[in-house]
């Protein structure tokens, strides 16, 4: 999973560097004059359906509302709040639990990282738009876009599944509140512009939070669970589709 994040960061840097190297020019000319879509001074509201991808054991489907302001075409800020309508475990966790039920019998808190799923979040971000471009569809028509990078921090509420054991070979998952944690996020995406102030943001974002978790474990052949502290960063990588409307 760490490689994937590295890859994303690497990709972003490569894209920016590539473009810069390709046609770096010394003078202070502009490539695009009288831009059709300029973010400067824009105050916009964004409604964003979100789904998590690359989670280990959890899944999220959320929606958020954001309010952003752009100081100029390159730099903006955004405040956002969201709620996860679907926030829980993936099938994979149930699968491996069922297969090895005897081995985890009696364990209440599984000794696995990234078990926690987010239920709501509120955050603030800084947005950088280094690229403004347009894309031609089969040399017939075209649309404009901004490529942006986003980073920020906030808070989020988490829950996780604990196990209850009615019998030694039968478990029941119970959601337990993991409290509110500070979160950080970074990501990037493209904003496709539509007329009359509308735009669509397609974004990949990694939201992470530090977590200390008192889990339980059993040694091979052991019967009684022992306590184990797990410290980890919970990563939730989300694919977001934001529908934006700019007032100004």
């Amino acid at each position: 999973m760490r490689y994937s994040r590295l890859a994303l960061t690497f990709v972003t840097i490569c894209c920016l560097m590539g473009s810069a190297i390709q046609s770096a020019k010394a003078d202070d000319h502009v490539v695009v004059a009288d831009r059709l879509y300029d973010m400067a001074g824009s105050l916009e509201i964004t409604l964003t359906p979100t789904m998590s991808i690359f989670d280990k054991y959890t899944k999220h489907v959320a929606a958020s509302v954001g309010l952003g302001y752009y100081f100029n075409d390159y730099l903006g800020i955004e405040a956002e709040g969201g709620y996860a309508f679907i926030s829980g475990d993936k099938k994979l966790l149930d699968e491996i639990l069922r297969v090895g039920v005897d081995n985890v019998s009696g364990i209440e808190r599984l000794p696995l990282s990234d078990l926690k799923h987010m239920t709501w979040f509120a955050s603030g971000s800084v947005i950088l738009n280094p690229l403004y471009g347009k894309i031609s569809l089969s040399a017939e028509s075209d649309f404009n876009f901004h490529f942006y990078l986003i980073a920020g921090a906030g808070v989020a509420g988490f829950k996780y599944s604990t196990l209850e054991w009615p019998t030694a070979s039968e478990f029941r998952k119970v959601d337990k509140d993991a409290g509110m944690k500070p979160t950080f996020h970074f990501g990037g995406g493209i904003r496709i512009h539509f007329p009359k102030g509308f735009s669509l943001r397609i974004e990949l974002r990694d939201q992470f939070s530090y977590d200390e978790y008192d889990a339980q474990t059993k040694s091979e052949g052991g019967i009684t669970p022992t306590e184990k502290k797990i410290t980890d960063f919970i990563h939730i990588t989300t694919l977001r589709f934001g529908v934006c409307y700019s007032f100004l």
Binding site: V31, V32, A33, D34, L36, A139, D142
Partner: protein, 531 residues
Amino acid sequence: MRAVIIALSISLTALAPNLAKAQAPSPINEAVEAYNSNDLARAAKLFYETKMTDTVAANRAKAEYYLAHSLYKMGLYQSALAYYNAVFVAGPAHPYYLKAAEGLINVAAALKDDTLIPSQINKFYNSQAFARMDPMALSRINFYVGLLLYRQEKFGESMAFLGAVDAKSPVFAKSLFLQAIIHTKMGVRYNLARDEARTQAEYDKAIALFEQIIDLSGRTEEKAKIAIENYDDIQRLWQLCTLNLARSFYGKGDYSRAVQYYSRIPRFSKDWADALFEIGWAYYMRQEYGKALGALHALHSPFFKDLFQPESWILTATIYFQVCLYDESKAALNYYTDHYEKHLPLLKKLIEGSLPNEAFASLLLKDKLDPKDPMAQVPVSIRKAILENPRVENFRHFLRSLEAEAIAISQEDEWKGHRLAQELTGVVNVQRTLLQKTAGGFVKANLRQAYQTIYGFVSHAKMVQLEITTKERLLVKAGYPIKAELRGKLAPRPKVPDETYNYWRFVKEYWEDELGYYEYTVRRACPKTPK
């Protein structure tokens, strides 16, 4: 310009009697020794003393020339000019006459002066004596004199001088170019006189000469590199030849070839704006109105902000008029009124007012104008147009070198308190005053030209406006709707030649890489049959 030389001569001769009184032994040998050991400041001082005090005429003559030459080698070109000139005006009787002529040409090159010194040489041109001169130096002299005569529109005499330039001379390509330009100008004259045969003949001669200059490149990269080393400014000339070939074909009425050559002008190069405007005309003549408007669209983009192109708006209005889009035509005329015609009262006030010529000089000699300076009122586009004239850089270079020279003279320890320093300071000051006058005159002439250009197109604009009114009246009379969108269909989008082309619709924003590739499609709004 001649006044400058006369002024310099007077200032030099006025000083002579006082110094001649001192009858000291000649310091010529000491001066030569200093000169040979490259102690140029001391050499100049001693040559000066020799010139003023030596009783032997040959020594004085020698000292006079070497004083000039020492100053030249010190980079004090204006000072050198004064003494070279004194030798040169003495005529062939002076033993250093030819050398002084060469010196003058070298100073002209160093000062980028293509007016003052050439006119002086022309005044004292002695073909018999010059025949003994080094052919390369003579070629340069002939070129400068040819250039001067060309500016005075003495085309016949100019051609004679330019034709005498040696083919191996660095100014050979320039002389060919000037000859071609003269043929083009003659073509225009014959065209105005409706002498078709002579018009064609002159343009053909011009085309042959432009091609000859391009042929100097051998049309291969390797040979071109050799040509670049051998001829002055030939890269620039090659581009100008391409532009002028386009103009010549346009003049001949061969618009297709004109378009071909205009298209070869590299995008974003110095001549591109001219090429865009003129290709607009060529397309117009070919009735390719969409392409004509496309070329003008690039010219009117923010990338050419503050470009002085009044005629382009008249052309735009004319094209819209031709396709019966009268509202668009009127919009172009309004733009002309708002952005050009409105400057006429100010320009008139400036050129017809009581401002002395020197007051105009600040426009081109100063980088930043004082808001109180009358030149600060000159509209940006006109100021830019004046500043883009290649002669402006020469003026500025001249002024910079004069200022540097004044400082160098005042800081030369060898000359502290010496009469030479005073004399040279006087020379530089006189020249600076005269330069300001000349530069001011140049600015004033350009402002007058801008005024005449704008004023000239006002009547064109009125004519188009009148025609529009007439046509609109006829439309109404014939029962056609006045609104163009109700009169015809929008022409289809131009075809993308193949998939290796990209199509981008233009909506408000100007992408740098799309400039020059614009094309319009317009509504076919002209009624086909009278109702």
